[in-house]
Amino acid sequence: MSTTTEEILDQISTLILDLGSLREQVSDATDRAAINNQITALTKWWRKIDDLRASEPKPGLAEAKTALEGIVVDLKKEKKKLESVAKVIYRAAQAIAIAEKVAKLVV
């Protein structure tokens, strides 16, 4: 089944909001700064894709959606019980790379 930019936007916004919830569980300034950086970067790509969005399916987005869904599941687990901020940062970095690829694909 083909994927739309709308679906990608939903996944990325879930990730951004989950990062926000995770940030609230962290009080260390360095950890919070690292999460803030990921939120800012991911939001930048969300806005970029939002500007190009359409409800029509676009080829090549299915793989990105699946990868983002995996990250969403992982962050949801961390949201329930935060074990590793480093893992959160790493998974967010992967999401940022995917979002960048999507933005370039839909231009």
Binding site: D10, L17, R32, I39, W46
Partner: protein, 298 residues
């Protein structure tokens, strides 16, 4: 003699159920007008938030994409314009549809009904023209729904056809309302992520100010300025937190009202439906609450 009485009785039943239907159509139209004006009011109010949050998302430190002007990247708004055009067209076509249904329900001469339908048809065609079909497939789909609605109501000469017309209109009304809700939902999603990014940025700025305040060997007046700026960041953070809640309440009420609007539109297609039918009462209540939730934003 018996046959004549039967004919009169059947005529009376048909007339009474027709009246009941028209009252129900009128009741639906009142609530649909509330839905249209609340959605219009909300979207326009929130456009100011959109601009503010876009301003907060500016990040001069981020590297520009190779071969792309940083300004174009920062100030892009193609889809925002498309979304605003769609919202304007969806809200106006719903409002005009409600207005025409109301007139059909209350006018008791066929000429007035014919004039009203023709006016509606013309206005809708003009609305469809404001949508830019070259830019966005969602605009194409909405323009198609608006044009289809216009052609259903063009050439109506008597109000007795209202049931048949509302039946044909159902998929197009659904498309218009779905578009309206989807765009407001996406607008709110944009606000949620942008608010969070703005909050992240404020925290970074606050920490930078605190660092300089303690380490830069500043004179007292410079320290005061820094402290004032830090205080403004805290003020903005709290204002954003407070602004989020009523918008979320409106969005959830809008989704509920859209569902009850479509159920009520389906219900008015039933012969003999009365204005106190449960679908119409539910829609009226939802529309009233929607108006009340939009007032809380001001």
């Amino acid at each position: 003699m018996f046959k004549k009485e039967m004919v009169i009785a059947l005529f009376l039943i048909a007339t009474l159920s027709g009246c009941a239907n028209l009252d129900a159509v009128g009741k639906f139209a009142d609530s649909a007008q509330l839905l249209s004006s609340a959605a219009d009011d909300f979207y326009n109010t929130e456009l100011a938030t959109d601009r503010k949050l876009a301003g907060l998302s500016v990040d001069l430190a981020s590297p520009a994409q190779p071969g792309e002007s940083a300004w174009i990247e920062a100030a892009t708004g193609k889809n925002l314009l498309s979304e605003a055009r769609r919202n304007k067209a969806a809200v106006a076509s719903l409002g005009q549809y409600a207005n025409t249904l109301k007139q059909i329900a209350i006018f008791d001469n066929d000429k007035a009904v014919e004039d009203s339908s023709q006016r509606f048809s013309r206005n809708l065609s003009e609305l469809a023209n404001i949508l830019d079909s070259k830019i966005n497939p969602d605009e194409v789909a909405l323009a198609k729904a608006i044009n289809s609605l216009a052609s259903i109501y063009s050439g109506i000469k008597v109000r007795d056809v209202i049931l048949e017309k509302t039946q044909s209109a159902q998929p197009h009304v659904e498309k218009i309302i779905d578009t309206l809700v989807a765009d407001i939902k996406r607008q709110q999603q944009r606000f949620n992520v942008s608010r969070l990014a703005a909050s992240a940025k404020r925290e970074t700025q606050f920490n930078a100010l605190k660092h300089d305040f303690n380490n830069a060997g500043l004179i007292e007046s410079q320290k005061l300025l820094i402290e004032t700026t830090a205080g403004k960041l805290v003020e903005d953070e709290l204002a954003d937190l407070l602004a989020e809640q009523p918008a979320q309440v409106f969005l959830s009420q809008l989704k509920k009202t859209a569902v009850s609007c479509l159920a009520a539109h389906k219900a008015i297609q039933t012969t003999g439906i009365k204005e106190d039918a449960k679908e119409l009462a539910a829609f009226a209540e939802d529309a009233r609450q929607l108006v009340s939730s939009v007032r809380k934003l001001h």
